[in-house]
């Protein structure tokens, strides 16, 4: 992925991470009474000063604040890449693939709902030139035929053709998401395989395997809890990657356990210690915490530029999510202690 001579990137990423929001920042943000107050604090007291400079915090919209922070994340990512080898290299490629997947999924939702307002407002135009399809055309796609035309000359066409050219109401969104995510991970592993002998190969593969496995656990949890989905259907949505849970155990989770039994069984696996330690059964939140913990370890103790960069991006993504949770919490007047429990710090 990155040139190994670019070890400066890990130092730079660590230095940038040093400026992250701290506990006292989160406490101050939670104590705010309105979104303008949050924007004002971020603008005046944190490193978001640069991106928020010039905005009218008195009238800022939650969506715009989120958009600006995300734009800032991309700019920081770009700055970090200057220490590496630029936008033709692996890390940048998987970042773009990730964005493309998210945009296609967003487009499918738009086609189903026939309302593209939110998609337009969130559209990452700053990445427009790096995309393999035209973002503006994607926005105007009002049918799967339109979408097909937009992605016709991209790898996504082949992936989705089986699923998109059916009646619109029968499109299986979860399946599409599963296929695109598979492709995303496949892209990552293909990039990793370009340097199979590198020291970071195993560490990188491990972190993505962990991520994929946690996604599997989350899907089982969600589909069993909220949708009562048939086991055979759940099985279709599983990633291929196995890390701490083998095929046999995964099969047991899907076919032999109801929700309670699944959680109980999970407690006897590698992930059990996290459930016991935190004392909560919210598997989705625990998954995030496990990933957060792993990325944090990598950022603090690894010197591998790829690993540190990926950890940095993941941790900042967590920070952005924390800010969004605070904004939502303040907006809907959620008690401060409840907002605090949502945060990954």
């Amino acid at each position: 992925m990155l040139n190994k001579s670019s070890y400066a990137i890990s130092s730079k990423a660590k230095a940038m991470y040093g400026k992250r929001l701290k506990l006292e920042d989160y406490q101050a943000l939670i104590a705010k009474k309105s979104i303008p107050e949050i924007a004002s604090y971020l603008k005046k007291e944190t490193y978001y000063q640069e991106v928020l400079d010039g905005i009218n915090e008195g009238s800022i919209h939650r969506g715009k604040l989120e958009y600006l922070i995300r734009q800032d994340l991309f700019e920081r990512f770009n700055r970090l890449l200057k220490y590496g080898l630029g936008d033709q290299h692996g890390t940048y490629r998987w970042f773009i693939v990730l964005t493309e997947v998210e945009q296609i999924l967003e487009s499918i939702r738009v086609i189903q709902s026939q309302d593209n307002f939110d998609m337009i407002s969130r559209l990452p135009l700053f990445l427009e030139k790096s995309m393999s399809f035209d973002l503006k055309e994607l926005i105007n796609a009002r049918s799967f035929q339109d979408l097909h035309k937009v992605i016709e000359h991209t790898p996504y066409n082949k992936l989705l053709s089986r699923y998109l050219f059916v009646e619109q109401e029968n499109v299986d969104y979860v399946q599409c998401e599963h296929i695109l995510k598979e492709y995303y991970y496949q892209t990552i592993f293909d990039i990793l395989k370009e340097n199979p002998d590198s020291a970071s190969f195993k560490a990188m593969r491990d972190i993505f395997h962990l991520q994929m496995e946690l996604e599997n656990i989350n899907k089982i949890y969600r589909l069993k809890k909220y949708f009562k989905t048939a086991p055979s259907q759940i099985n279709k949505y599983m990633n291929k990657a196995r890390y701490h849970i083998n095929d046999k155990l995964l099969h047991k989770f899907i076919y032999d356990c109801n929700l309670e039994e699944f959680i109980e069984a999970l407690k006897h696996t590698y992930y059990g210690k996290f459930i016991k330690k935190s004392g909560v059964d919210d598997i989705e939140w625990l998954s995030k915490q496990i990933l957060y913990h792993n990325h944090r370890q990598n950022l603090l103790y690894s010197n591998d530029p790829d690993l540190v960069l990926i950890a940095y991006l993941a941790l900042i993504e967590v920070e952005i999510q924390n800010i969004i949770d605070i904004i939502e919490g303040v907006r809907y007047k959620v008690p401060q202690d409840k907002i605090f429990k949502l945060l990954l710090i």
């Binding site: 010039g54 009218n56 800022i60 593209n116 307002f117 939110d118 337009i120 135009l125």
Partner: protein
């Protein structure tokens, strides 16, 4: 060189002319007004002219509302005159309109960029936009990033115009049919459009319309308010309005001439005829000594009946500074700097002082043969002019040190004796004969100090003996006794009871210590002048260090010399300036000067 002679003048007018009289007096540039409360006779029914707060209150009210409405008042030069009823009617109208403007401004909180955009929108007309029945206007700012996304939406349902753009936002106005207004608003809202309310009235236009009337009224109110600030100088005596004050003797005719067109009467008196009032002091000095008035003002002006010491201060200040800071080159720099500052700001008295002490430094620098620390440059001139072998005076020569220090004390003694003479002159002027005869700075003090000075000169310089027994009894013993008996003797001369206030025992106990203190002060005051010699040596020493550094630094020598000279001029110039002032205030002023005068202040400065 003197204190300007004054005349006390009362200008009297009737009820119909007093305002004009007051304005003419205030604009005359001749009159030092005397507060009416100082001279009216209350028992006789005299009163001070009472102020009316209407003008001030109204002025404040207009200022506050204009400030809140964002209107910058520009009072007119020429203005109409208003009656009280007209002012009150104006105020009612003004408050109603400007309060509405303030309310509209408060509702639309604008930054500078908003203002620029709104200014362009004004061309359409705010009232017109608000009155439209079938279409809706929208105005606000949209992030530039969102502007790029606007064409991704259906644009057929609105018309939009860009008004202004910054790095972050674009200010736009749109118009849409009432049928599509919800849809269009949703598009704009989804792109983080921050709406700014279109004002219901055009506040700018209203302010422009009212500007003339407001400026005119403010000018009139200010004129009346300024006039009222002078009422304190007008006393009402027997129904007449009297403006009283002091005018310099030479300006009396010119002052009176200004009132030719007004029906007034003058009453002119000599200053000693108005013993209940303290005449103001106005110093008059020539161009050379005038800058030194700054030191007199700092200490306190002399009383009207005292002497103006500016010339004496000028001469002694230049002499002492010149000796202590004797360098031709550095003196020239000070002269140049002072002259330039004086030309740039003629009112800057300190600049004049700098240029004059610069000249003194140049003179003594030439005599010491010193030019920017170079001690040999003037040698050929000295040899040609004074016929000396090397140079006139070697400051750094070991044998010169004692001469320098002795000369410093000599100069000090002479200055102390002159200070005593001035003091005696002032006592004669004030007819204070007791103090003249018996005080330490009077005749007795002068004889005692002069005798010691004369005796020491004979002992160390002219080889004669003045300290004989008889002389010591006459010129030391008797003066000491006089000091001891000073208070009873002064009382005797002034025709008062000889016995001291607190009895003889207490008096002698106190007087013995006082006599001891007088002798001590003669010694310490004289020793204080040692600093004059000390600073000559210090200055030469500092320049020696600079010149040694110049030699050590080789090619950079010139730079070191420039920096060294700047450093010495800055640091030592300041120290010597302060030390000279200290000698003025402590050693000389303390012997003859008391201050306590009242400044001559033109009545116009109150406006």
């Amino acid at each position: 060189m003197s204190i300007v002679k004054m005349k006390y003048i009362q200008t009297i007018a009737d009820k119909n002319h007093y305002k004009e009289m007051l304005i003419t007096g205030a604009n005359s540039n001749y009159l030092h007004g005397e507060l009416a409360s100082n001279w009216i006779d209350v028992e006789n029914g005299d009163t001070v002219l009472v102020e009316d707060t209407l003008y001030n209150d109204t002025l404040n009210q207009i200022h506050n509302l204009c400030h809140m409405a964002g209107y910058q008042i520009k009072p007119k030069e020429q203005f109409k005159k208003y009656t009280v009823e007209e002012i009150q009617a104006f105020l009612v109208d003004f408050e109603r309109i400007f309060k509405t403007v303030c309310e509209v401004n408060d509702a639309v909180s604008l930054n500078a960029d908003d203002g620029v955009a709104l200014e362009k929108l004004r061309e359409i007309g705010f009232e017109a936009m608000n009155q439209c029945r079938y279409v809706t206007f929208g105005f606000g700012r949209m992030p530039n990033e969102s502007m790029k996304k606007l064409d991704l939406h259906d644009q057929s349902k609105y018309e939009m115009v860009e008004l202004h753009k910054s790095n972050i936002y674009t200010w736009v106005a749109y118009v849409t049919s009432n049928t599509f207004v919800k849809e269009v608003k949703r598009i704009f809202d989804s792109l983080y459009f921050e709406e700014i309310k279109i004002p219901i009235i055009d506040t700018h236009r209203i302010l422009v319309e009212y500007a003339d009337a407001v400026d005119d009224m403010v000018a009139f109110l200010k004129y009346r308010y300024d006039l009222m600030k002078l009422y304190k100088y007008v006393g009402v005596v027997d129904g007449n309005y009297v403006l009283a004050g002091f005018v310099s003797e030479q300006d009396v005719r010119a002052y009176k001439a200004l009132f030719q067109h007004i029906d007034v009467v003058f009453q002119e008196k000599d200053v000693n005829e108005v013993s209940n009032l303290k005449p103001p002091t106005k110093l008059k000095n020539n161009w050379f000594t005038r800058p030194f008035e700054i030191f007199i003002n700092m200490y306190g002006l002399p009383g009207y009946w005292d002497m103006d010491p500016t010339t004496f201060v000028c001469l002694t200040y230049c002499l002492l500074f010149g000796i202590m800071f004797g360098d031709f080159g550095q003196g020239f720099v000070l002269f140049l700097l002072g002259t330039l500052l004086e030309l740039k700001n003629p009112k800057m008295l300190l600049a004049g002082v700098i240029s004059r002490v610069g000249i003194a430094s140049m003179i003594f620098g030439f005599l010491f043969g010193s030019f920017f620390g170079n001690e040999e440059l003037f040698n050929p001139i000295h040899q040609a002019l004074f016929g000396v072998k090397d140079k006139l005076f070697h400051v750094m020569d070991g044998s010169s040190t004692m001469i320098l220090l002795s000369s410093a004390i000599l100069i000090g003694a002479v200055l102390i004796l002159i200070s005593m003479l001035i003091n005696m002159y002032l006592h004669i002027k004030h007819k204070a004969y007791g103090e003249l005869l018996f005080s330490p700075n009077g005749i007795t003090g002068f004889i005692l100090y002069g005798y010691i000075f004369y005796g020491l000169l004979g002992m160390f310089m002219f080889q004669y003996q003045a300290f004989t027994k008889l002389n010591l009894i006459l010129f030391l013993g008797i003066p000491a006794l006089i000091f001891l008996m000073k208070e009873p003797l002064v009382h005797l001369v002034e025709g008062k009871a000889i016995r001291p206030k607190h009895g003889w025992g207490a008096y002698f106990t106190e007087a013995i210590f006082e006599v001891f203190e007088i002798f001590l002060s003669y010694i310490t005051n004289s020793m204080s002048y040692l600093r004059v010699g000390g600073f000559v040596l210090s200055h030469a020493g500092m320049m020696l260090v600079v010149m040694t550094l110049v030699e050590m630094t080789g090619k950079s020598g010139l730079l070191v010399m420039i920096i060294g000279n700047i450093f010495v001029i800055g640091l030592e110039g300041l120290i010597v300036g302060i030390q000279t002032l200290r000698l003025q205030y402590y050693e000389m002023f303390s012997r003859y000067y008391s201050g306590g005068g009242k400044e001559f202040k033109l009545i116009s400065k109150d406006i």
